[in-house]
Amino acid sequence: MIVDILISAFLVISGIFGLVGSVGLIKLPHPMMRLHAPTKATTLGVGGALIASLLYFYFVAGRFSYHELMITLFLFLTAPITGNFIAKVHIHRHETRDSLPSTGSERPWATFESDEDRIRAEGHEL
């Protein structure tokens, strides 16, 4: 009984955060701001569903399932990379050196540095 309530609670939490993430995708006005919405859906949205699944298999099905831990691990490894890719595309298309804060050194943000400039600065090929 208590387990049922707990599982349901985690599923509802997961649903709420998934929904809020989707609302953010529609509502927010700027591409970089919209990028924040899916990072939320992958953390608490998916996290809640995974905890619910973990509890279900342990208390109802009677065995421990490790797949949820693996999904968490793979999400934490991959989600930042996709976020970084989308941010880089945005920087390429919509930002200039002057629209971003300074790097505090003579070299620019990595997205803006051409291969020739990098070789000149570091003195060698990659």
Binding site: A79, T103, G104, A110
Partner: protein
């Protein structure tokens, strides 16, 4: 001799454990298959990790993971509040530059990943010399506070773990 067959003992252990978790049942056959994978993959991929970071202390790594998980929950609620209850005209998105004291590439990767996974901040780019991180904030009326928090809460702990 041991180095030759076990170039990366922790990677071997990780691969064996991950394989057991993926198949979800502990049998002798799976354990042997996991061991084969855990022994061959580090040998085959050895050329790709010439410089390995040394991890200083396990308790600090656990502490870091717990803090990040807690921050993810707190920040999720905060960002949900921004999305649901703040008008678009009132949100203050901002680019923030974070000068890094960390120099190990692996440590910077972990820091960038942490920043992205805690909602409200996304690490977007690194300066070409690797000394500054570019972070985008969904709602940051006070960019200096966000910078100070990332440096004191995450970077300081990663310094203790990696350097």
């Amino acid at each position: 001799m041991i180095r030759k067959f076990l170039p990366h003992p922790w990677l071997t252990l990780l691969l064996v454990v991950v394989w057991q978790m993926l198949v979800n049942t502990l049998t002798l056959g799976n354990l042997v298959l996991g061991l084969i994978l855990g022994l061959t993959i580090p040998i085959l991929t050895a050329p790709y990790w010439p410089n390995r970071p040394r991890l200083r202390s396990l308790p600090r790594i656990v502490e870091y993971i717990v803090i990040v998980l807690w921050d993810i929950i707190v920040a999720n609620v905060q960002v949900a509040g921004v999305i649901l209850f703040k008008r678009n005209a009132d949100t203050r998105p901002a680019w923030i530059d974070i000068p890094l004291k960390l120099h190990t590439p692996e440590a910077i990767t972990v820091l960038a990943g942490t920043i992205t996974m805690t909602p409200g901040t996304i690490s977007s780019d690194l300066s070409a010399d690797g000394h500054t991180l570019l972070v985008h904030c969904l709602h940051a009326p006070d960019p200096d506070a966000v910078r100070a928090q990332i440096k004191s809460r995450y970077e300081r702990r990663l310094m203790e773990i990696f350097e």
